[in-house]
Subunit: 139 residues, 2 copies
């Protein structure tokens, strides 16, 4: 089989950046890079406020942790900066099967609901050369 | 002025991931995600070996530090994982002027030569909410 047959990765779906203060971060992105059309949102299950903007074909998502959870833990331990890279897939269950067959794993047994209609699951970075990769299927 | 007038950000040009072992990392990406058409290269001035692959409209670049420099320093201090996010711009000098006018800065006075025909410059993350952002102009 060729790679195109075994993987449904369609591109880079979104990139998350951890920030301590969402409003301040949005102001800096606007002032320095002229990017201002952020859509604000929140994900209570993850304990975060978010602001996303589409850059070309990829969403950039600024993420401010507001209550305990993995994002808050990472902000405390590693500080602000790049948090995860989410690859778009056409079928999440098929993609997870491919990952596991290839020796990788996910960090949860089930996908979770992301922003908008995004269904997401995180891969185990320790099995993928440290890469914090997530898979997203748009439902 | 609208944001589109003051900034030439055209999208996400490339994303760099630091890895300790390029060959091992490529094998993992192929096995788990079916991504195998990497183009291997090196940048001696940065002390790195690289393997890049185009995912949709963005380049994903695996970067293995092989001699001293900023990538090696970051690998030692933070380990493997996301390293930088490079935004595409149509004119690097104009973009840098916008960044500085907006209160940001670059980490070097002059751009440097990246892979292929990429002319790049890094922004100061301490002035941009910790975001390790680079700008790339294709020449």
């Amino acid at each position: 089989m060729t790679p195109k047959e075994i993987t449904p990765v369609t591109g880079i779906h979104h990139i998350n950046l951890l920030v301590a203060d969402l409003d301040h971060a949005m102001a800096l992105w606007r002032q320095q890079l002229g990017i201002s059309d952020f859509i604000e949102d929140s994900l209570e299950g993850r304990g975060v406020r978010t602001a996303r903007v589409r850059l070309g074909h990829t969403w950039l998502v600024l993420v401010q942790p507001v209550s305990e959870g993995e994002p808050m833990r990472q902000l405390r331990e590693r500080g602000e900066g790049l948090f995860l890279l989410s690859l778009g897939v056409s079928n999440l269950d098929d993609a997870v099967a491919t990952v596991k067959k290839g020796g990788g794993d996910t960090t949860s047994t089930e996908p979770r609901q992301g922003l908008e209609n995004w269904r997401v699951i995180d891969l185990d970075p320790s099995l993928l050369a440290g890469a914090p990769i997530q898979l997203t299927e748009e439902q």
